[in-house]
């Protein structure tokens, strides 16, 4: 008999102030080819239900992959027991207002269904990608990876919530490693796993995929003969595929309210941002406009409702450089008494939701790419993240990229390898000098934003134009 979450809710016998059931069913297909040979191919399927119970002001949870009424009743009793046993020690006494009634549906956008492409066609394309990446005998390794996910999430609760969201995700990665003696350089398709979208099989258009693979292979070879990035304090231009990481680490994480409230201090860390900074802190230059927006079609972390049932909508977190709003769910908002967003998200049915990024974007400015470069007497242009590290308050960072070009007298000149830069968040964003227009804007994401205790990896999307920062410390690789 098919499991019915609504019926399961109706048959629960639990004396709580609120009960919610969140069911997640997810099918994943993964295909990986290395040097034209199959590496890892398969399917994963997970499903289960998290029962959340509110009693005596405290939430307790229990999650199970046994989808039958008796197991859910058992889970509800365990969740209730946890709520009661810990209510005396609760960080905050919650009410059902942090789980508002929500009713609605969401469906990821797509042009062609994911199942339109067969396993054989998928593998054929990946083998061709490897062949195309292999532009010379100096390419010593080629890899092609695709992953598609079909996710269904249903949330019902004792106060009438009934949401049904279905997602289609596509993740691709194509990379080439080139070697000349002891010099080894890797180039990927905008950074490892950066091409993450809510989409369908249109993502696998062979002409577009193979054209990108050709460029990846050629640029890997170009890096072998390139000079190392110079050590200098200079003008830095970042492409959207590196801006993604810059926004994620130095804007997204420090604005998470649960970090500011201290929940993450034993793991992911805290934040240099204080609750009193909202509405007051000048985070960056007046060109800096950051939005939280799960409504962007096709961006990786789109949805209609978060896991508390809060409707998702676009919000400015930073406007003209001023910090306005945090990345905080309804639970964090009542604890912190500052405005937040619909970002209470769990990785799957087996983890409780916490404050996460979703789609976090830098809004476009006015300058074309050519206009921005033409104004720079001397600088470095960098693409695609390859190394990332930042302190637990999200201040001192050091990031590395795959590929760079020198900027001399308003023009892109030599290719540079091993480009790195470092800085301190508030100063760095204060040095934002130019923001590219919509023609420079691009959208990426990552499936691996890690946080939480217990740990959870979540999907996030980031879109940005190309940006120019002045007086940034850049440097190259090991001597």
């Amino acid at each position: 008999m098919k499991f019915d979450l609504h019926q399961a809710l109706n048959t629960l016998d639990i004396n709580a102030d609120w009960v919610g059931l969140r069911q997640v069913n997810e099918k994943t297909t993964t295909h990986a080819v290395r040097d034209g040979r199959p590496q890892s191919n398969g399917r994963d399927f997970t499903q289960g239900v998290m029962v959340e119970v509110l009693a005596e002001g405290q939430f307790g949870y229990a999650a199970t992959n046994r989808l039958d009424p008796a197991s859910l009743q058992g889970a509800a009793e365990q969740a209730y027991q946890q709520a009661i046993a810990t209510s005396k020690w609760a960080v905050h006494s919650f009410t059902p207002e942090v789980r508002p009634k929500a009713v609605g549906q969401y469906q990821s956008p797509f042009q062609q269904p994911l199942d339109l492409i067969s396993v054989a066609d998928q593998l054929d394309l990946l083998v061709k990608v490897c062949d195309t990446l292999h532009v010379s005998d100096q390419i010593v390794k080629t890899s092609a990876f695709t992953q598609t996910l079909e996710t269904e999430q249903i949330f019902v609760s004792s106060n009438g919530t009934d949401t049904h969201q279905t997602f289609g995700f596509v993740i691709t990665n194509y990379e080439a490693t080139a070697q000349d003696g002891s010099i080894i350089q890797k180039r990927t398709d905008n950074g490892p796993l950066a091409r993450c979208y809510q989409a369908g099989s249109e993502v696998f258009d062979p002409d577009q995929v193979l054209a990108r693979a050709q460029q990846v292979g050629e640029q890997a070879i170009a890096l072998l003969a390139a000079e190392d990035c110079p050590t200098a304090t200079t003008t830095l231009v970042l492409a959207p595929d590196q801006m993604m990481l810059q926004i994620h680490e130095s804007v997204g994480h420090p604005l998470e309210l649960d970090r500011i409230l201290g929940d993450e201090r034993n793991y992911a860390g805290s934040s240099f941002v204080k609750l009193s900074d909202f509405g007051h802190l000048v985070y960056g230059s007046p060109l800096m406009n950051i939005t939280f927006d799960p409504t962007v079609p096709g961006e990786f972390a789109g949805y209609a409702f978060d896991d508390a049932g809060m409707p998702a909508q676009r919000e400015y977190l930073i406007k003209e450089g001023l910090l306005l709003r945090g990345l905080g769910s309804l639970e964090s908002q009542v604890r912190a008494q500052v405005p937040g967003v619909a970002n209470f998200r769990a990785r799957s049915w087996n983890r409780a939701p916490i404050d996460r990024m979703a789609n976090l974007n830098l809004e476009p400015g006015q300058s074309s790419f050519e206009e921005m470069i033409s104004t720079i007497e001397s600088g470095v242009y960098m693409e695609a993240n390859r190394s990332w590290s930042i302190d637990d308050y999200r201040n001192k960072f050091q990031f590395g990229c795959e590929y760079a070009r020198l900027i001399e007298k308003g023009k892109l000149t030599k290719v540079l390898r091993n480009p790195n830069y470092r800085g301190i968040t508030n100063q760095f964003w204060g040095n934002l000098a130019q923001v590219g227009d919509a023609s420079t804007f691009a959208m990426y994401g990552t499936p691996y934003c890690g946080k939480g205790e217990p740990n959870q990896c979540i999907r996030v999307g980031h879109a940005s134009p190309t940006c120019v920062f002045k007086e940034i410390e850049v440097f190259g690789g090991a001597a």
């Binding site: 989808l67 390794k141 080894i184 034993n266 190394s387 790195n420 090991a478």
Partner: protein, 454 residues
């Protein structure tokens, strides 16, 4: 009104073992001529309690298990992962559907020249029972001792299972009941005493004693924070910090596949370079904290030396890599990372650490390490928690966090002065997707002229 099902950890483990074996028998009985199959189980029944400021932020239970089957036929292979509920009727239906789906997928895949057929390397059964706190007793056991201090972290406990069967007749079962308390006591300066308490039996006295020690250590963090300028300093890395540095070698370091494919930071060791003669690193499974079998069912030797007195003597190799590069497998994991690493102790006594450091930095923990130039062996990262400026063998003050960027060929090479003569067990506390098993045995490191950049 529903009848409830709440199953104890012991009952869960017994039921899972029985159901897993019946399910595996069913799958193996359904194989057709020329087909080979391996079957893996990973499962847990976990209690997670998240703590902040001496209070409970979130608390709950997760019962989760999954099966992964790998079918091999006609020189092709594919896998399928699906839930293991412990209900044989439910799981049998799903498992047979997945087997059938794999039969449809296989002909669509190219031939795999490096396919590894299941073999019978021998069977094993290890089961370690625990004495853990009941989930409804945890907050009362943990929290009274930490009132008045800023206590933040996670408590995780319950049974964990790993099992493996294959069509060659091999059977492995590994079950353990463990807890991990991973916490920080945070000072008003926002510096912290970081510690873990892990095991198979909860000891309330040991817990309260450890908390008292941590509270005592908090006092030194009350001193004003000192700003240290970037530069090169003599540096002591406590065992937890050593574990972070050595852990990087599991990420493009000791893997043979990585070495062969241009992705290893240790490649220069194959070209004649060496690290410090003080440094020896091995995989040591004798602690029994992790299963010795890998996803292919291979069983690792009890010890696999990797670095002996600074020389690379082995890399980690699994059967697939062994076949591709004509080398010998040592039953490494699929990713050829370390599962039970141990760095050998040196001669520096704990009592002499500060005196031998003299003037420099004492680092208890590191944060967010990454390769800044992997082929160059260069690592960047941050200091974290309790880190101090030391002058003439005396702790002067906690430091404002510093970023480092240095090459392992330097700080594990000529700049490595000594290691402590004792090791600490650093439990693996990761819970991504599932609770991790095991940990590492690490001494402290004393390094000359370590480079800080920001």
């Amino acid at each position: 009104m529903s009848t409830s099902v709440v199953v104890s950890p012991t009952e869960t483990l017994a039921a899972w073992e029985s159901t897993f074996n019946q399910l595996a028998d069913l799958l193996l009985d359904n194989l057709q001529a020329g087909e080979h199959l391996s079957i893996e189980l990973a499962g847990e029944q976990s209690h997670f309690m998240r703590l902040n400021a001496g209070k409970v932020r979130q608390s709950g239970l997760v019962t989760d298990a999954s099966i992964n089957i790998r079918l091999i036929a006609n020189q092709r292979t594919a896998y399928a992962g699906f839930p293991f509920t412990g209900d044989l009727a439910v799981d049998s239906t799903v498992a047979l559907e997945q087997l059938q789906q794999l039969r449809q997928d296989l002909p669509q895949l190219p031939e795999d020249p490096y396919i590894v057929l299941p073999e019978n390397y021998g069977s094993s059964r290890e089961a370690y029972s625990g004495q853990l706190l009941a989930p409804d007793q945890v907050s009362a056991a943990l929290l009274p001792a930490v009132q008045g201090v800023d206590f933040t972290g996670i408590y995780a406990s319950g049974p964990i299972v790993r099992a493996n069967r294959n069509s060659a007749g091999q059977q492995h079962w590994f079950a353990t009941e463990t807890f991990v308390l991973d916490y920080s006591l945070i000072a008003p300066s926002e510096k912290a005493v970081k510690a873990t308490l892990a095991g198979q039996a909860w000891d309330q006295t040991a817990y309260t004693d450890q908390i008292q020690q941590s509270i005592t250590q908090l006092e030194v963090l009350d001193r004003p924070v000192q700003v240290i300028e970037p530069g090169q300093y003599r540096t002591y890395f406590a065992p937890a910090a050593t574990a972070e540095l050595i852990g990087m070698l599991s990420w493009g370091g000791v893997s043979e596949a990585s070495m062969q494919q241009g992705g290893s930071a240790l490649a220069k060791l194959r070209e004649g370079k060496s690290l410090s003669p003080h440094l020896s690193l091995k995989e040591n499974f004798s602690l029994g904290l992790v299963p010795r079998f890998n996803s292919l069912g291979e069983v690792a030797p009890e010890e696999v030396p990797l670095l002996v007195e600074g020389q690379l003597v082995n890399t980690l190799v699994n059967a697939r890599t062994a076949k591709e590069y004509q080398v010998t497998s040592n039953a490494a994991s699929a990713h050829e990372g370390m599962r039970s690493p141990e760095v050998s102790p040196g001669t520096l006594s704990t009592a002499d650490i500060l005196a031998q450091l003299g003037t420099g930095l004492y680092l208890s923990n590191l944060h967010y390490l990454n390769w800044s130039d992997r082929t160059g062996g260069r690592i960047t990262g941050m200091t974290r928690y309790a880190c101090f400026w030391v002058e003439q063998g005396e702790i002067i003050a906690p430091i404002k966090d510093l970023r480092f960027d240095d090459s392992l060929y330097e700080f594990l090479g000529t700049k490595l002065e000594n290691l402590t003569d004792t090791q600490e067990f650093i439990p693996c506390v990761d819970t991504y997707g599932a609770r991790s098993l095991g940990g590492s045995l690490m001494p402290g490191l004393l390094v000359n002229d370590f480079t800080f950049t920001l």
